[in-house]
């Protein structure tokens, strides 16, 4: 599965457009981590446990989008976009979407 953020895949020609695919996950924070993050918020800087948490969640959302594309018989997803939003206190939604297409390598590219 080729996943790119551009409209076309360089070196490949789009032969068929399949349509929009998406994947999401909502993650809750952890009370224990919250306490540590609270301390961290006093001094500023990167909150590593949250970075890790959100990175994993984003990968999960991406994976679900790819599964959606595979289910529809695509071999590439173009124009991938991520969006993150807070849906309630202490929880974040990670959302990935793109356009599933069929591509094949261009001759002489």
């Amino acid at each position: 599965m080729i996943v790119v953020t551009t409209e076309t895949v360089p070196g490949y020609a789009v032969t068929q457009v399949i349509g929009l695919v998406r994947g999401n996950t909502i993650r809750a924070r952890h009370v224990g981590r919250d306490i540590m993050a609270g301390f961290k918020a006093m001094v500023g800087g990167e909150i590593k446990s949250y970075t890790e948490l959100l990175t994993k969640a984003r990968e999960e959302a991406l994976q679900r989008m790819v599964e959606d594309a595979q289910r529809l018989g695509a071999n590439a997803v173009v124009n991938l976009r991520f969006s993150t939003s807070s849906v309630m206190q202490g929880a974040a939604e990670l959302f990935a979407y793109g356009t599933a297409v069929l591509v094949q390598p261009q001759q002489g590219a």
């Binding site: 789009v14 457009v17 929009l20 909502i26 809750a28 976009r81 939003s85 979407y97 793109g98």
Partner: protein, 153 residues
């Protein structure tokens, strides 16, 4: 005296049953929504959504126009409370995720319906916007540019 006790018992039973009833009606409503979305999906099957800026193989045969749809959703209080328990230990909140997915399905089908109503068969550059509008409610907006593809797909 007996009458008072009976009233108290009824009130207590009602208070105990209320969260269950609230959760149940929410669940039933979601099931009905899923069915409605399925019906919409069949009806709108001709409208294709993509989030690329242009259709790779053809131009529009009619003047393009903005199409947009939105939905504001919240979970019922019982499932909200149950889902919120997740926050103690962390991890994926499946109940909220499912609700969000359903809301997005709804926004997507409304977008396709809107596009179909305006005589388009494809929506380009589809974007999603998610925002929290109240403590427990969120809005999902889907918007894009409707076009009509040339004869070939």
């Amino acid at each position: 005296m007996g009458g008072v006790i009976a009233i108290v018992v009824v009130v207590v039973l009602f208070m105990a049953a209320l969260p269950v009833l609230v959760g149940l009606q929410g669940w039933l409503r979601d099931r009905a929504r899923r069915r409605t979305i399925e019906a919409f999906r069949e009806q709108n099957a001709g409208v294709l959504l993509v989030n690329t800026k242009r259709w790779p193989t053809a131009d529009s045969t009619v003047a393009p126009a903005l199409v947009a749809s939105s939905t504001v959703r919240c979970l019922d209080s019982t499932r909200f409370s149950l889902g919120s328990l997740r926050q103690i230990v962390g991890g994926e909140m499946k109940m909220f995720g499912g609700n969000m997915n359903l809301a997005r399905d709804e926004a997507i089908e409304r977008l396709r319906d809107e596009a179909r109503g305006q005589g388009f068969d494809c929506v380009l550059n589809v974007r999603f916007e998610t925002s929290q509008v109240a403590a427990t409610a969120f809005e999902i907006v889907a918007y894009g540019t409707g076009i009509r593809r040339a004869a070939q797909g």
